[in-house]
């Protein structure tokens, strides 16, 4: 294959280590990608189990199964586990597997740091999970950690804060690695404006992460010193202000939600052209829309705080700024639709998930716009309406695209084909149940049901029951996903997949020019010919 040049990374030129040690010391981007993806899948089930505790309790009014305090812990931990344990690591996993391959690089730029950031993630996740068993219980003040409530957390508070530090450092190291890889490791023929959109969106996401994770780390550090070292950042008695926390948090928090959606956009832009058998529509506008969204995400944070008592000028500014985001977002939805327009479409499982993403994400965007209108947000704020909003933008968007990505690339990674029948079954079960689960929450919110409560008035009973039924169908359907993935890894349908896997995929990305399964080392010599279909032209 490749010539080994002196002084070069020692792992090059031979296969993986034997046994368990392979996974602990590995610096191979594919191994690390697998570690991230497996961790994310495991945490997806942990967070899902917590969600089912929540939905079981809310199945009927009254207190059935859990104490209110534990219920609140579940709400908080579900969010933390899903955001920091499932969605973010899953995209880092995809980045590890795909970015080097997509840009014709032999590995990530900083392989050792790559390994370290993964194990730091594991440490952070273990630390935050350990709080479940502590005196006073896990954090229960919501994933937003608002003071003064969060300062009433028991022994768990410092552990949660350190966990956030670890998760933050891990994300920042991952982000630095991704930027370094994209800047310094591209094949010479892979110019910036030829990069696949997944690479573009991840690069922009990485910059977001470097800018915001430290701010979050700072905010929780202030909580820590307020609680233990007599500072008064957020304590009114000492001249502080709890609303200040909300500003700092949402300065991080709003871009954070885009950290979870921008790579989603990238994967969608990769999958849709392949199954529409057309070039991507509007490559350049996709790149600029992504950058615009990222920029705007820094100047809209107070739309989470319309009800704190801002002056009218503040409400108006944040209202209009937030609405602006709908423009680049609309450009993207338009481009995906235009890509499919008059395409020779086929509906394999990845495409089904991608189409569902376009439709259902748009619905989440619309409810976002409704809440962006400051006077109406007074009604929606902290109700189930916002719960419906962000679950539409996260579950049938980010999560669906992660599923789509798995079906799309798993044959490439393993060399085995997944069971298309089961995949479609998984899709339909998920797509139908996710709507049974979240659509009624719009009605509940409009009728006034507050979020983060274990019990509710009886007029909310019917929609809650339906929502809970949807939740259980959705949750258990994901076991089917697990089964399909394991089965594929172990040989799948037995069908041999070609290097392209999907018809004419070779035109859409470098990964499809390599053999399936992807060899342990790829692109030791950089490719010279770059596919162009993803650029929207020939």
């Amino acid at each position: 294959m490749s010539a080994v040049i002196a002084g070069h990374d020692e792992h090059h030129g031979h296969g993986p280590e034997k046994g368990i040690l392979r996974w602990i010391v590995t610096t191979n981007h594919k191994d690390i990608g697998t570690l991230y993806l497996v961790t994310a899948l495991a945490m997806f089930f942990v967070g899902g189990a917590m969600a089912l505790v929540i939905r079981a309790e809310l199945f009927e009014p009254g207190l059935q199964f859990v104490e209110p305090q534990f219920f609140n812990s579940m709400v908080t931990m579900h969010a933390l586990v899903m955001v920091f344990g499932a969605v973010m690591p899953a995209f880092v996993g995809l980045a590890n597997w795909m970015i080097p391959v997509m840009i014709g690089a032999p590995d990530m730029a900083l392989p050792r740091m790559n390994n370290m950031s993964f194990w730091m993630l594991v440490a952070g996740l273990l630390l935050i999970s350990s709080t479940l068993f502590m005196e006073g219980g896990a954090p229960a003040a919501g994933w937003t950690f608002y003071p003064p409530l969060v300062l009433q957390t028991g022994n768990a508070l410092p552990f949660a804060v350190f966990a956030v530090h670890l998760l933050g450092i891990s994300s920042i190291m991952g982000a630095i690695n991704i930027i370094a890889t994209i800047f310094n490791m591209r094949a010479p023929a892979m110019t910036l404006m030829k990069m696949p959109l997944f690479v573009w969106t991840w690069m922009i996401t990485a910059f977001l992460l470097i800018a915001i994770m430290p701010v979050f780390a700072g905010a929780v550090t202030m909580l820590l010193t307020d609680r233990f070292f007599d500072t008064s950042f957020f304590d009114a008695a000492g001249g502080g202000d709890p609303v200040l926390y909300q500003h700092i948090f949402w300065f991080f928090g709003h871009p954070e939600v885009y950290v979870m959606i921008l790579p989603t956009f990238g994967v969608a832009s990769t999958i849709i052209p392949v199954f529409a058998r057309k070039p991507l529509f509007g490559y350049t506008s996709m790149v600029f829309a992504t950058a615009t969204i990222a920029f705007l995400s820094f100047i809209v944070w107070s739309h989470h705080m319309f009800t704190v008592g801002m002056p009218i000028s503040g409400e108006l500014y944040f209202m209009y700024a937030t609405m602006l985001i709908a423009i680049p977002t609309g450009v993207k939805v338009f481009n995906w639709t235009a890509t499919m327009w008059k395409g020779a479409m086929t509906f394999e499982t990845p495409m089904l998930f991608a189409i569902a993403f376009v439709v259902l994400f748009t619905m989440g965007g619309f409810t976002g716009l409704m809440m962006a209108i400051a006077p109406t947000d007074f009604q929606y704020h902290d109700t189930y309406f916002i719960v419906a909003h962000f679950h539409y933008t996260l579950v049938p968007a980010s999560i669906f695209i992660l599923m789509a990505a798995t079906y799309f690339w798993l044959p490439k990674w393993t060399g085995h084909m997944y069971d298309e029948k089961l995949g479609k079954l998984h899709f339909w079960l998920s797509a139908v149940s996710v709507n049974i689960l979240f659509f009624p929450q719009h009605f509940l919110g409009l009728a006034g049901m507050p979020r983060r409560i274990p019990d509710y008035a009886v007029q909310f009973a019917d929609w809650n029951m339906i929502s809970s039924i949807g939740a259980f169908i959705f949750g258990f359907s994901q076991l089917l996903f697990l089964y399909i993935v394991i089965k594929t890894i172990r040989g799948g349908t037995g069908e041999r997949v070609t290097s392209e896997v999907w018809e004419d995929a070779r035109k859409h990305g470098l990964e499809w020019t390599l053999p399936s399964p992807l060899p342990y080392h790829t692109f030791s010599t950089p490719p010279t010919k770059i596919p162009t279909e993803h650029l929207g032209g020939h």
């Binding site: 040049i5 730029a109 920042i172 370094a180 800018a211 994770m213 950042f233 200040l244 002056p311």
Partner: protein
């Protein structure tokens, strides 16, 4: 091209790490920035915590503003706390005094700090206090009760759209954590 661009990586990593460290600092910088921003714009109901001096307003007899007084205790501070007047109609420019009553319900000495807040926030800069128990910490001997005056004036420049101003005080028990 199997040569890894070690040098390029190092300088890029240093730059990016510097951004991360800088953003950590930026998070902290938001704290004073926020206060400055609130002071300049007068939002957030942050009202002065030192006595206003040299106020010389012309009384506007044609206009009346309702001033309401609210009291509360933080985290069950062991006190009684109430305003003797709940509501007052005042002419802008006119000085008024309202008495507040507070009592230490314990057998120990108690140090408390009252934190004022004004609603609506943008009216805060037009509400001036020349005397207030909130300007300093209050020490209560066991079971001691105090009557404490607040002297204030509403600046006649208060925009017409404000008809009611609510002044709220929260007493915080800071016996264990007295600030110097």
């Amino acid at each position: 091209m199997t040569r890894l661009p070690e040098k390029k990586n190092r300088s890029l990593v240093i730059k990016l790490a510097a951004i991360a460290v800088g953003m950590f600092g930026f998070g902290y910088a938001l704290v004073p920035l926020y206060d400055v921003f609130c002071q300049v714009t007068g939002i957030n109901g942050k009202t002065d915590t030192v006595a206003a001096a040299n106020l010389d307003y012309e009384v506007n007899k044609d206009r009346e503003v309702t001033v309401e007084f609210i009291t509360s205790l933080n985290k069950m501070a062991p006190m009684e706390f109430a305003a003797e007047t709940k509501k007052l109609r005042v002419h802008p420019g006119e000085f008024h005094t309202v008495n507040f009553y507070a009592k230490n319900k314990t057998d120990k000495t108690l140090v408390a700090q009252a934190i004022p807040s004004i609603t609506p926030g943008p009216a805060a800069e037009f509400f001036k206090k020349t005397e207030c128990f909130c300007f300093s910490q209050q020490t209560f001997k066991p079971r001691e009760s105090k009557t404490m005056p607040v002297r204030f004036v509403v600046n006649p420049d208060l925009p017409d759209r404000y008809k009611t101003i609510t002044l709220s005080y929260t007493f915080f028990d800071i016996t264990d954590k007295p600030k110097t």
